[in-house]
Symmetry: C2
Subunit: 271 residues, 2 copies
């Protein structure tokens, strides 16, 4: 673990990341020793910095530290945390902000090998996402909703849980974004009121548009899921997981255009 470029395991307990969740993070796949989708991750992080008014340390410095932390590791997960640093009186940010950068690396997680081909079983969480347009789309350190949601099921019984917002709209999974296919059109929930705009989601949207397929970003209800021809989940580490089963209904994991899936996975994990 690197903190501000130095090998450390501990951070100042006065850091606002701990005190208030006042910061952002990114989780990246590492393939062939290089972080995947680096530019998309950096775009989101810098967008988050702009919104929270935290100075963005710059993509070059972060890449340097990621490669330093990785050393000769070929396959891994990297997590970057950027906080507003210490200081300020109560919630109010200090006048001068000295952000803290942390770069963690983890072994590549043991996701089920067959999930990408055969699809996964998915549940619906009762924990809701609160609406907050000011934070929507960002990957902030305020993650208690996701912690509570993942606590709702026993590890292994389902692979992911879908979350609704307080208006009964389906938004995303606890750690993934959601797409549905209906009548040849791909639909993904609108994230302007809550949710995390995943970089894999962004890559999928871009790839769909390059292939001149139809895609709609809009409101999704549980009924829309039941009536879908196919569902899939995405994130930076899993790539794409088709949904095999949701709340008693089964779906064809091969409903999603295979050339599209292949192109996304190729672009998403290239090095």
């Amino acid at each position: 673990l690197l903190i501000n470029g130095k090998s450390e395991n501990f951070i100042d307990a006065a850091d606002r990341g701990l005190q208030y969740g006042d910061g952002l993070f990114e989780t990246l796949a590492v393939v062939g020793g290089r972080p995947c989708l680096w530019h998309l991750h950096m775009q989101r992080l810098s967008r988050g910095c702009e919104r929270l008014k935290i100075p963005f340390p710059g993509s070059d410095q972060l890449l340097h530290e990621v490669l330093q932390e990785l050393g000769s590791t070929e396959r891994a997960v990297v997590k970057i945390i950027l906080t507003r640093g210490c200081g300020g009186r109560g919630y109010r940010p200090p006048a001068v902000i000295n952000p803290n950068r942390m770069v963690f690396s983890f072994p590549w997680p043991g996701y089920p090998q067959d999930a990408q081909r055969d699809g996964v079983k998915v549940g619906v969480c009762s924990t809701r996402l609160g609406l907050n347009p000011g934070l929507a789309g960002l990957k902030t350190l305020n993650r208690l909703e996701q912690v509570l949601a993942q606590s709702e099921w026993k590890e292994g019984s389902v692979a992911e849980g879908l979350m609704l917002d307080t208006n009964d709209h389906v938004i995303e999974g606890t750690m993934s974004n959601l797409f549905l296919l209906r009548g040849g059109i791909l639909i993904t929930p609108d994230l302007s009121h809550c949710g995390t705009a995943g970089v894999m989601r962004e890559l999928i949207i871009d790839t769909v548009r390059r292939r001149k397929l139809e895609l709609k970003v809009g409101t999704v209800g549980l009924d829309d899921l039941r009536e879908a021809d196919g569902l899939f989940l995405s994130n930076s580490l899993i790539g794409i997981w088709p949904v095999r089963e949701l709340a008693g209904r089964t779906f064809d994991p091969r409903a999603i255009d295979p050339p599209l899936v292949n192109e996304v996975l190729e672009r998403g994990f290239q090095h």
Copy 2:
């Protein structure tokens, strides 16, 4: 600063308090070397632990550590942070939870001397509180909404900002609870969908009932504030601040029953 009873300034960067805001905190006034309203703070903390399924370390151990941290300090602010500790795969809490306890002490803040007598000027924030019944009332480490809200005004221009939820209900201040007086009845916003149930708010409610005054916990809109005979804010450190001015309207800071205020302040800061 004490971490798990030991004098330290740094915590493990893998702590879930930093990673996800997975924890709770309490901020207490210290008068005569003793933390005020200890039992109410411990009740809220243990209620939060129950809700988040974090083992509560027990009031005795925490009091011991608070007194250890204070030493011979008579007047101070103490902040207790309790996190779920390290571990777990992603958002999912680990099977065995080893919470981390932190006890900070700070000098007593320099609140304006005349605020309690003359009242304060208050604004309305545009940052909203997202609804989350599962976390409502708790003092969790997910505080970005409050950070954004306090960033909306320059320090000193107003003393506090009121926050509405996404349904346009007035809930609380960024760091305080709200009461209004209308036709001899005290009203305070319902916190079952969002907001922090302050211990000073609880003490006020209890004192009002002991004095057989009428109190309603319910829905409050901006119109209700405009039509109020008096408004006041409360928290563990400020006690009670009457509102002198809100959005161009002025209020009588003496509208609130002085014997009630005196009894609350006596009970709230006794040692």
